[in-house]
């Protein structure tokens, strides 16, 4: 329990800024110093509980937030996924040399290629690519469970440990705990004036992606009572927006929206709600339970069940009293580009204002972004 406001704010700030480029490596390096392994992740479809159970640190890779990617450009022309380019740049510049391995997936064609680039450049001693079916059906689930089982075996071999059902159940318990804590934070966002800004919330969720889970849980649990009563600096509580994006990990994007006169009250992002939504059932076979959660629950445009993403978002719009949606497509990341017309049409039919903006991975073209968001906020304003 944190009593003192100043101390609490300090602790909160530390947690919120954990994903910043200057800080995100700290925990991983501390972990390494204890002689333990760090495994990088580039999407949210890897059941990372298994990595946790293997005694390694599952660490989500965010790319460099700087604009220029001269090293990665050798392998990646400018018209390829910018997240992957910035990740490859971090690899090639040596920033990620501490990683023992990485588990990728075929989230999209570009992530598949990223895995091949690691292989070609002989990066890390453990590189795994998990196939995640693009659909959800009984057959797809059986296949995914088999794939996850193979991943578990691969990790056992690499880490030199046996991953027992008990250790998996423990890991699931820890992750579910994190999920329930973050769910409580998101519940607070339903308030007219939430205790956290949208940018702060993104800082909080991305922190969960780079910090050791036990430590993260300890911190967040200690801060929750403080958050209940916190008075944040919110410039404009209206209009309330939901941001939909994939790997948007830089809170500065959300801050930009909030500076332009809106409140980001909810999100539909890999780095936000989609990271922790849906707990893993604790009864039954843990691998099967994990496979079910990761394949069937994440409603992301990457999957061919676009309708689930739409109905999920519609639900959120209602519960979080959302006035409009900002949809960020990232340059050359195709799943969202292709799903966009459907998403837009469905939102328009439902009478939910919708703005789509193409962005780079790093924060660039701020003036243009700002104009779009401000204009959107102006169209949503009641009294104008």
């Amino acid at each position: 329990m944190v009593q003192n406001t100043v101390t609490a704010e300090k602790r909160l700030k530390k947690l919120v800024e954990a994903g910043q480029e200057a800080n995100r490596f700290n925990w991983a390096k501390e972990w390494k110093a204890q002689g333990k392994k760090v495994i990088g992740l580039v999407d949210t479809y890897i059941p990372e509980e298994i990595i946790y159970a293997a005694g390694a640190l599952p660490w989500h890779i965010f790319g460099t937030w700087r604009q220029n990617v001269p090293l990665a450009s050798v392998y990646r022309p400018p018209n390829t996924c910018r997240y992957c380019a910035h990740v490859l740049e971090s690899f090639m510049s040596g920033q990620l040399d501490f990683l023992d391995g990485a588990v990728g997936s075929d989230w999209d064609d570009d992530r598949r290629v990223l895995w091949f680039q690691w292989t070609h450049l002989k990066m890390m001693s453990f590189r795994y690519q998990l196939h995640v079916p693009l659909k959800d059906s009984d057959l797809a689930r059986i296949q995914f469970t088999a794939n996850v089982t193979r991943l578990k075996k691969g990790l056992e071999k690499f880490c030199g440990v046996e991953i027992t059902d008990q250790s998996l159940a423990d890991a699931i318990g820890v992750y579910n705990k994190m999920r329930s804590l973050l769910t409580r934070v998101y519940e607070m966002r339903k308030r007219d004036v939430p205790p956290l800004t949208g940018a702060e919330t993104l800082g909080l969720t991305t922190a969960a992606m780079v910090m050791p889970k036990d430590e993260y849980i300890k911190e967040l649990e200690a801060l929750l009572p403080y958050l209940e009563t916190r008075k944040p600096v919110i410039t404009s509580p209206h209009p309330r927006l939901l941001v939909s994006a994939d790997r948007l990990d830089n809170p500065a994007y959300i801050a930009l929206i909030e500076d332009a006169g809106a409140l980001v009250a909810m999100d539909d992002m890999d780095t936000g709600s989609r990271y922790f939504w849906n707990e893993v059932p604790v009864n039954g076979d843990p691998i099967e339970a994990l496979s079910r959660r990761y394949l069937s629950k994440l409603a992301c445009p990457r999957m061919t069940f676009w309708d689930r993403q739409v109905s999920q978002v519609k639900e959120w719009v209602k519960e979080w009293k959302i006035d409009g949606i900002v949809n960020f497509t990232m340059s050359y990341s195709y799943p969202r580009f292709f799903g966009m017309p459907y998403f837009r049409d469905q939102m328009e039919t439902a009478g939910i204002p919708f703005l789509t903006i193409q962005r780079e991975y790093y924060l660039g073209s701020v003036g243009q972004l700002r104009t779009r968001v401000e204009a959107f906020a102006e169209t949503l304003a009641e009294d104008f």
Binding site: Q358, S365, Q368, T371, E374, T379, F384
Partner: protein, 264 residues
């Protein structure tokens, strides 16, 4: 009640002053690095020529890309809202509006009061903006105000520009010139390429009549005539299309002034 709208674009700054429901006057100048100074100068210029002083102005709204750098404005709004508002005041039946600035191209759907329903902007690159024609004109040595009319005298039947890029177009123009193509034909090809690009953008939003074009390029008949043909719609252009944004800002300023007066 005297109010003003100031529109700071990337290339030019516009100020428009209203007294009650009447437009007092306006002025246009080039934007300098000192935005606040430019804004004040252009406003003072309009005020002075009509015997007014800065102190007489009750409310100021700034808009355009430099809107947040006008320290003396009471409020700032985006050019999207201001263009829609300005257009609605002169053409109340307009439902679709195309604003073509130097580097921006915006398509806006609005209602009769000028409230924006939907909008769309060009992304990532300046292909299909005014700068494109500016560069082509400069390469050919044709003054800006002549490129439109002269393009209408040319034909793009045998002349084609591949590059949409405002910078590469210069290269293509140079080659065409060297191959002996007539200046007017090259201008026609450049206008055709631009209109193709703009039509594609406009078509992504629903085109509900009436349709209006604002911004500096609206003065270019080569673009407007071709757009009418390409979109198959009649285009309405106000007499001073480049100050529509400032007019919209001034109208918002009038609202602000009224509200302020009511509160006082």
């Amino acid at each position: 009640m005297v109010v003003a709208g100031i529109d700071i674009g990337s290339m030019s700054a516009k100020a428009l002053v209203m007294s009650g429901d009447d437009i007092v006057g306006w002025a246009v100048t080039l934007t300098t690095p000192d935005v606040a100074g430019t804004a004040r100068q252009i406003l003072d210029k309009v005020l002075e020529s009509h015997g007014l002083r800065f102190e007489d102005v009750d409310y100021i709204v700034s808009t355009g890309y430099g809107r947040i750098r006008v320290p003396f404005a009471h409020r700032h709004l985006t050019e999207i809202s201001c263009h829609a508002r300005g257009t609605a005041s002169v053409f109340p039946n307009v439902r679709t509006l195309l604003d073509m600035g130097g580097q921006d191209c915006k398509v806006i759907n609005c209602d009769g009061t000028g409230k924006v329903q939907k909008f769309l902007l060009n992304d990532k690159c300046a292909a299909g903006t005014g700068r494109y024609l500016e560069r082509v004109g400069a390469t050919l040595g044709v003054p800006l105000e002549q490129i439109g009319p002269r393009s209408l005298d040319g034909s793009d039947a045998t002349t084609h520009i591949d590059s949409f890029c405002a910078v590469f177009a210069q290269r293509d123009v140079m080659i065409l010139r060297q191959q002996g193509k007539a200046t007017n034909d090259i201008l026609a090809a450049a206008h055709e390429a631009l209109v193709t690009r703009i039509s594609a953008l406009v078509n992504r939003l629903s085109i509900t009549p009436e349709f209006s074009v604002s911004g500096g390029i609206a003065k270019n008949p080569g673009v407007v005539k071709r757009l009418e043909k390409s979109l198959n719609i009649e285009i309405r252009v106000w007499k001073e299309p480049q100050v529509i944004g400032a007019l919209g800002a001034a109208l918002f300023a009038r609202d602000g002034a009224k509200k302020k007066a009511a509160q006082a």
